[in-house]
């Protein structure tokens, strides 16, 4: 933990919450830029990974930097492909930090508008798992279209997929679906409690 002899303005700073949840101490990052250099999507990000780490480093003294990190497009573009963690000289688990920032961004409703489709896809994915226990691809695509509004997307793919037998019309269900329901209920309740 940070040495506790200087007080924090508004409770534990974002960096401390990240440390507590992921065990990653952003103070160890010496901004060598190797993660950004290897990140496949860094060019599309508003803040490449090394800059997100720097935002976290300064977030304690500058709350607006915490905002930039939580409202960034980066944390949704991150595919957790683990290249950065694999090559980080200080062995910092950056994908895990991104996960933690995503959870906080969702909890505080600060998700970047550009990431709407990505989040819609993940929500649709989990809807299918909650209801059937598995991913029912057809159902998930429909749910995604309703959430994202891209009704015409991949219209040409569907018939082909059906023809080659890759598209099932009926979902495969898990027998103990009620247990799945209870698991989802417990985890979403836990989410409310978190800051």
């Amino acid at each position: 933990m940070r040495s506790d002899n200087h007080a924090h303005p508004a409770g534990p700073a974002l960096a401390d919450r990240v440390l507590e949840k992921t065990g990653v101490d952003v103070a160890r990052c010496y901004q060598c830029g190797k993660c950004s250099a290897g990140c496949p999507l860094a060019a599309d990000m508003d803040f490449p990974p090394s800059q997100v780490m720097h935002l976290l480093q300064l977030a304690a003294g500058f709350p607006e930097y915490a905002e930039l990190a939580l409202r960034s497009h980066t944390i949704w573009l991150c595919l957790t492909c683990e290249i950065c963690y694999c090559r980080c000289p200080m062995e910092l688990d950056i994908p895990k930090v991104m996960d933690a920032l995503r959870h906080e961004s969702l909890a505080q409703k600060k998700t970047n508008p550009k990431a709407r489709d990505i989040i819609a896809f993940h929500r649709a994915f989990l809807d299918s798992v909650r209801t059937t226990g598995r991913l029912f691809e057809m159902g998930q695509v429909i749910d995604y279209k309703l959430r994202s509004g891209h009704f015409l997307q991949d219209m040409l793919q569907a018939p082909w997929m059906f023809l080659v037998g890759k598209l099932h019309l009926l979902p495969e269900r898990v027998r103990d679906r009620r247990l799945l329901g209870r698991i989802f209920a417990r985890t979403s309740k836990a989410k409310e409690k978190r800051p």
Partner: protein, 288 residues
């Protein structure tokens, strides 16, 4: 040593041919693959992106079910599921309090006694694979590992995170010529296949560009998501790159099946977007 089998959702849907070819090969090798009873989805990227507890709960329930069934190891052919199950097992074994909490959450006592195997580990452990080869798969191939088979290294402890060789060695065993290429473990765009197809077109395009430039005749994959992006998204890739890539993308189990002389139909080759054909002559195998 009881080996369980966790197919994962995509092998029942968009990656049917991966499941067909795996089961065909397993049957030919006389290995039965009992499924984990009443298995549920591992949550893949969606779960750990949105909810930390759910990301651990879903895989924990799967592993607990496998343990209850007495399975010592579970074959997980899909790289994403393999990663989620491995990470969950690693984190729950490292933190007793977390293990107890997640076990409570899924109402099953996760012990971590079942090891998680990926497809290459499972195939490599089968003795005398070379002996089963009837029609050597004599092609120049680019073995594509993707991200999650070899990373994070501390968790999966499989092969090398940079320039892995295990799939190359397997392909050499069945007569192929694995190429030294530069995109073995670069990301294909994974879960953005539907939500950000443009990014998949970019990343998967780079992969195909390098494979073709090196003279590869096929890309070998071991993950349904990579196959989906590299094969089914080919039109998007080609539209963005402004050029055609005729290189087929096949699963390692399909390549193995072909080399063992199994019929193409049983291996699901007809379900590919990019037809699995190879230019004339240079291979003894007849044109499929």
């Amino acid at each position: 040593m009881k080996t369980g089998f966790y197919p994962g959702c995509s092998m029942k849907g968009s990656a049917r041919e991966y499941s067909e070819s795996l089961l065909a090969v397993a049957a030919a090798l006389g290995r039965d693959l009992p499924e984990v009873p009443d298995w549920n989805c591992c949550g893949a990227t969606a779960a750990h992106n949105l909810d930390p507890d759910l990301a651990l709960a879903l895989p924990a329930r799967i592993l607990a079910a496998a343990e209850k069934e007495g399975m010592d190891e579970v074959l997980v052919p899909c790289a994403a599921c393999y990663s989620r199950l491995s990470v969950t097992r690693h984190e729950l074994l490292a933190d007793e309090a977390l293990r107890r909490r997640i076990s409570g959450l899924v109402e099953a006592d996760f012990r971590g006694s079942a090891r998680v195997l990926n497809i290459i580990e499972w195939l490599a452990a089968i003795p005398g694979l070379e002996g089963m080869v009837k029609a050597p798969f004599a092609r120049r191939v680019a073995c594509y590992y993707g991200c999650l088979l070899v990373r994070p290294a501390g968790v999966v402890n499989f092969d090398r995170p940079e320039e892995p060789q295990s799939m190359d060695l397997l392909m050499k065993k069945i007569g192929a010529e694995p190429l030294d290429w530069a995109f073995k473990t670069e990301c294909c765009g994974a879960g953005f296949s539907v939500s950000r197809t443009d990014l998949v077109a970019k990343l998967s395009g780079l992969i195909l560009e390098d494979a073709v430039a090196r003279g590869a005749e096929a890309v070998i994959v071991a993950c349904p998501m990579c196959h989906l992006n590299l094969d089914m998204r080919r039109p998007n890739i080609e539209r963005r790159a402004g050029k055609k890539y005729h290189i087929p993308v096949i699963y390692i189990t399909q390549a193995l099946g072909l080399a063992m002389g199994l019929p193409a139909k049983k291996l699901g080759l007809q379900r590919h977007k990019v037809a699995v054909k190879f230019p004339a002559a240079n291979s003894a195998a007849k044109d499929i």
